[in-house]
């Protein structure tokens, strides 16, 4: 049995034979867990498309973003995330344990990425596999999104193992892995159906000469995955998978996605090169070298970029599967280039030194890209508003919470606020007057520091968490508290209703 062919051996044996890979996976886990402790949110969707509905399934309280009213979101991910949330709420309901558990589980699930990269590169050589696994462990775009409760992050955790399985099945068709591949591809579709062309390519990849043997497992596996997605919808009281059609109808047929901004067709390429900055000078040529060894990976990445480029609304995260596949190809290419250079110098390319040097190089490149102006902002994105929400929920005696002139809607996430108290929304030129009229209904306010003087003297500022270094005019999320309780109802300013009026 070759190294590439992992058979039924004990875990201890496996760990001994793959000690280097185990070490890499532990590094990957450490990086992900460290990131999990931060309140960072890359995109609002992580909170309002996934955490909120999941929290709503457990507690009944959540902020329903417009997508759920329009019925264009599936319930599979929220249902899965509701499990750690339910556990966290059962153990320590007044804390953020539920959020940390979600991130910790996503961290563990995303460990499939470096393992899959190892497996995808293994047929090219052990050094290729180790370098690929290392890059899968430490590349900033991989581990940053690995812990995000987002369609794109979960898509990576599902579809890279699917690619590894497809590559194996092409060589050795077997029933059980074919079923697993079908399941992974279907769940990848349920999580982010926009990846369908890439999913189809991965399925095609698995069909070698003995394609019938793969197909008999792939089809039922795919059906089972779709069924899981559909059952999650039914379980939460929605028509199974209808959201896929509604989403396509809304975004593509009605052009609804253009409400979120449009960009020219080449934007993904230019933005990605901007993100990598000078590192693109290394990554792109290495990717082209690696693509010669794994052309199917190149086809998958190009399919992701090409299909998404046809849609007017574009966001960096949408093509993450393609981007990280390019990085995997570059990792493979770097070993090939190293070998070629050493051969030209008439030195043996084999040996640990080369692997260590390449791993150090990739680690440094990841740090460099992570520190580039574009990516550097992502590390603490969302820390201030979401930590402030947590702190608002923790104010002693809280009986009503008002959010005033917050820079974006929605700003409230019940999953982080984590208290059943009523919340009110005020914004616009008449907000100050409205706040004054509704004062008895709340005793905690989130507003800009410059807004503070508009509040009655009973309110005092508690914190502008994480904004000490900002100019006063930029401190938009400060907490103000007044003593005493609340009377009356939230009237016309109930957060959810006010949010819906704003079309959010």
């Amino acid at each position: 049995m070759g190294d590439h062919d992992i058979g039924p051996v004990s875990l201890k044996d496996l760990a001994r034979r793959h000690a280097a890979l185990v070490g890499i996976v532990l590094v990957a886990l450490a990086l992900r867990l460290i990131l999990s402790t931060r309140m960072t949110v890359f995109h609002a969707d992580e909170v309002w498309q996934y955490l909120e509905p999941a929290y709503g399934l457990v507690t009944g309280q959540w902020v329903r973003a417009w997508e759920f009213h329009a019925g264009i979101r599936g319930w599979f991910v929220p249902l899965v995330l509701s499990i750690p949330i339910a556990i966290g709420q059962a153990i320590a309901p007044q804390t953020q344990l539920h959020i940390y558990l979600v991130r910790a589980i996503l961290s563990v699930v995303s460990l499939g990425i470096p393992i899959a990269w190892y497996d995808l590169a293994r047929p090219l050589g052990r050094r290729h596999a180790l370098v690929a696994a290392w890059v899968g462990a430490v590349w900033c775009e991989v581990f940053y999104f690995g812990v995000r409760p987002s369609a794109e992050g979960l898509g990576l955790s599902l579809l890279f193992p699917a690619m590894a399985l497809a590559a194996r099945l092409r060589q050795r068709p077997r029933m059980a892995p074919a079923v697993a591949l079908g399941l992974l591809l279907a769940l990848g579709f349920v999580v982010r159906f926009h990846y369908l062309p890439a999913i189809a390519l991965i399925a095609l990849w698995s069909l070698g000469r003995d394609w019938r043997r793969v197909l008999v497992g792939l089809v039922p596996g795919f059906a089972a995955g779709l069924m899981l997605g559909g059952l999650a919808d039914i379980f939460t009281g929605h028509p199974p998978l209808l959201w896929v059609w509604r989403s396509i109808a809304f975004n593509l047929v009605q052009g609804g996605s253009s409400l979120f901004g449009t960009q020219p067709p080449w934007w993904f390429v230019t933005f990605q090169i901007g993100t990598w900055s000078w590192a693109a000078l290394a990554i792109v040529p290495l990717m082209l070298i690696g693509a010669r060894r794994r052309p199917m990976l190149l086809a998958i990445a190009v399919a992701v970029y090409a299909t998404h480029s046809l849609i007017a609304h574009k966001e960096y995260r949408f093509v993450l599967l393609g981007t990280t596949t390019f990085v995997l190809l570059a990792a493979i290419g770097s070993v090939d280039l190293w070998d070629a250079v050493l051969r030209r110098m008439r030195r043996s390319p084999h040996g640990r030194a080369g692997v260590i040097a390449l791993c150090l190089g990739w680690g440094a490149l990841s740090v460099a890209v992570g520190a580039m102006p574009v990516f550097a902002e992502y590390w603490d994105q969302g820390d201030v508003p979401f930590t402030t929400l947590v702190l608002a929920g923790e104010q002693p005696g809280l009986c009503g919470f008002a959010m005033v002139d917050q820079p974006a809607h929605p700003a409230l996430a019940m999953s982080l606020f984590n208290r059943p108290e009523p919340v009110l929304l005020f914004d616009g030129p008449e907000a100050a007057e409205e706040v004054r009229a509704m004062i008895p209904r709340f005793n905690v306010v989130e507003a800009a520091q410059l807004y503070g003087p508009n509040l009655p003297p009973a309110f005092h500022r508690v914190t502008c968490w994480g904004q000490d270094g900002y100019a006063i005019g930029d401190r938009l999320q400060c907490l103000y508290v007044r003593p005493g309780g609340c009377t009356g109802t939230v009237g016309d300013f109930a957060y959810q209703a006010a949010l819906e009026r704003r079309g959010k």
Binding site: S258, L259, L425, G428, M438, R501
Partner: protein
């Protein structure tokens, strides 16, 4: 045979599931309908009064004029209505009108949504602004040029509009030329999104 039946059943179920039953169109509201500010002043939205209820039902069923009238009511109501989410209700009715093709609704929505000058024009405001420009509302074109020159619009987001502007005939020629000239002028540094 069974497979075929299953296919037909599945397709029928899918169609039933996909088809949203159109809301029945409520009867026309009485002529000379008056919306009173008395109820909103006490904290009751005008949509809860008989006249407002009639207009809201019509607007929700697709009557653009009814939606615009409700939006206009909250926009032009004298004094302040501190117990009513006046801004939210304006946005709601103007957006509804805009989503059903009203350029006036779109233009009003832009001015309500785009209130923070320190950030880029929000994407939904920008989309409504394009609707208003394409409908030939001259102020909308001027507004876009001002925001562009203030660094409040990402150049990429104007790509499709620039292509549209390149084709003459859709809006008056002087308007079109003014917008193109304004968008070709240099812009300030891009604000944060």
């Amino acid at each position: 045979m069974t497979g075929r039946r299953l296919c037909v059943l599945g397709a029928t179920a899918l169609l039933i599931g996909c088809a949203r039953q159109p809301a029945p169109v409520p009867p026309r509201c009485p002529a000379g309908l008056v919306l009173s500010v008395a109820a909103p002043a006490q904290g009751t939205p005008v949509e809860a009064t008989p006249a407002g209820q009639c207009l809201a039902a019509r607007a929700t069923a697709g009557d653009v004029a009814a939606a615009l009238r409700l939006g206009d009511f909250y926009r032009t109501a004298p004094g302040t209505l501190p117990l009513i989410d006046r801004r939210g209700r304006q946005i709601h009715w103007y957006r509804l009108a805009a989503d059903r093709g009203s350029a006036v609704g779109a233009w009003q929505a832009v001015q309500l949504i785009d209130i923070n000058r320190d950030i880029q024009v929000p994407n939904d405001a920008l989309a409504y602004l394009f609707v208003a420009i394409k409908a030939g509302i001259p102020e909308a074109g001027d507004y876009l040029v001002d925001q562009w020159q203030d660094g409040r619009v990402d150049p990429g987001k104007l790509w499709a509009l620039r292509r549209w502007l390149a084709r003459p005939g859709a809006i008056p020629e002087d308007q079109r030329r003014d917008i193109i000239a304004g968008l070709n002028a240099p812009a300030d540094e891009l604000e944060e999104e």
